[in-house]
Chain length 85, copies 2
């Protein structure tokens, strides 16, 4: 079994309002960062896992996203898997 | 002014406990994903901004992280900036 690291982003769908992102945008305008046009806030998950190969590792990470980490009604996810030395 | 997209990860320091990550790990074990060894949960922020060049865009995103998005006592951040077409 090899060790892999999955880097997962779970973001609110583009079509949905993101109140947390809007709050950050307001906060940034107060910091003289009014050139920031849009902010969306989601989750980043760093997952370390054991698997026989990269394909297995990716399908485990995908299953974790689909069944636990992302709510498909409101969120979409993307993931990247790399082998650890 | 060009448009840039900053992809920012804000993660709890490695030395700190991450109760949310531990909760995910427990949940994954119940989904027959017990080969997941460790999980850390942080924030992912996608920020669209206007700037004259990539260096300015990166320093704006860095300022946003340092002054608003990340709490340096508990979190570290990493960021990547790319130009939008």
């Amino acid at each position: 079994m090899k060790q892999f690291l999955a880097e997962i982003d779970v973001m609110p769908h583009d079509a949905l309002l993101d109140p947390q992102g809007k709050a950050v945008l307001t906060g940034l305008a107060r910091l003289d960062l009014s050139d920031v046009v849009d902010v969306r806030v989601g989750k980043h998950i760093r997952m370390q896992l054991k698997a026989a190969n990269a394909t297995d590792a990716e399908s485990m990470a995908r299953k974790a996203c689909q069944e636990l980490l992302a709510n498909p009604v409101m969120e979409s996810f993307s993931l990247e898997v790399r082998e650890l030395p």
